[in-house]
Point group: C2
Chain length 196, copies 2
């Protein structure tokens, strides 16, 4: 029952599970976590998920690099996670905000991904307008797939998809409404994708 107020830290966080659908799942997860440069983010893994925290640019860069690295094994992989900013009291680990802005993982390999996302702008009476505006942005960016209950489908090349997610995460929060949550569920190398 400590602090019931929202923080003002610029830290962005992403708590996720990377699930390779293979008997060798441990090797795929460890390979991704070891070979991606995660030195720009605070990272912790427990028995259910992994969380990374730091500057927004690095959190999205590391998330994409982990997904891409796992994808290159050819295994069917699911990435499920929640991006958060602005609340509550997200203050420890601020040292990572001193990191330079240059992203360290720059593998340009193309990879088709199909995903779904939902935006939850907290304590914002106008939140539905924010959501509709960001779905329009997805259509403009050419990554919109389809509408559905509780989420929107986003697909295309992994770089275009992550560019959209980072852009929409930036625009869906404001100085007045700092606490933003975005869930993303991503499927890669799925047998449903017809070899894409």
């Amino acid at each position: 029952m400590e602090n019931l107020h929202c923080g003002v830290s610029p830290i962005v966080g992403f708590r996720f599970t990377l699930n390779p659908m293979t008997d060798d799942f441990v090797a795929v997860i460890k390979g991704a976590l070891e070979e991606v440069d995660t030195s720009t983010v605070w990272m912790h893994t427990d028995d259910v998920s992994t969380v990374i925290r730091g500057k927004q640019v690095h959190v999205f860069n590391v998330a994409k690099a982990l997904a891409l690295h796992a994808a290159k094994t050819g295994v069917h992989v699911a990435l499920n996670g929640t991006f958060s900013a602005g609340c509550p009291g997200d203050t420890t680990g601020d040292a990572f905000l001193d990191k330079p802005d240059e992203p360290l993982n720059n593998d340009p390999t193309k990879q088709y991904v199909s995903s779904q996302f939902a935006l939850y702008p907290m304590n914002n009476p106008d939140y539905m307008s924010v959501i509709y505006r960001e779905v329009e942005r997805a259509k403009e960016r050419g990554v919109f797939n389809e509408s559905m209950h509780y989420a929107s489908g986003i697909h295309g090349d992994i770089h275009d998809v992550f560019d959209f997610y980072e852009e929409t995460f930036t625009h869906a929060r404001s100085e007045e409404h700092r606490h933003l949550v975005m869930t993303v569920s991503m499927s890669i190398n799925s047998p449903s994708h017809g070899g894409k």
Copy 2:
């Protein structure tokens, strides 16, 4: 840009991915979807996730039954999903609200699960109080595991864990604040759980 207002439908929804970490993932997923009685919910599966919608009691009952069925294969399985109620305009498929209240899946097999959850009461200025209150509830119910960034750890027998999730989902929304979102990430048969 249709309806920007929240609906008043009592429908509860759960959009999820069930990810068995095995080469035989298709068989595990299909086995769960086929052998669980899902006749009480509206269900749709696409290339990324599955959504079930209906009365709250049935949505939680089917979600638990799918997880338990997959768990009994002995495979390491991750269940990631979002429960939603109250918004936006969740109106089609209301026929399923005519179903009797008796849950149809009643396998009492015990199964240890470790999970993490986050509550997002939408458009509620007092949402942090709701979150802290529900974490206290987890402690009272004996299923609280640990605090962490952006989530809370909940573990124990699958039946106790799902009982908690359904109870907290009921209490974290109100007539005044109908739109509630709850994310759950669950790990079953994990090598990190020491054979539990």
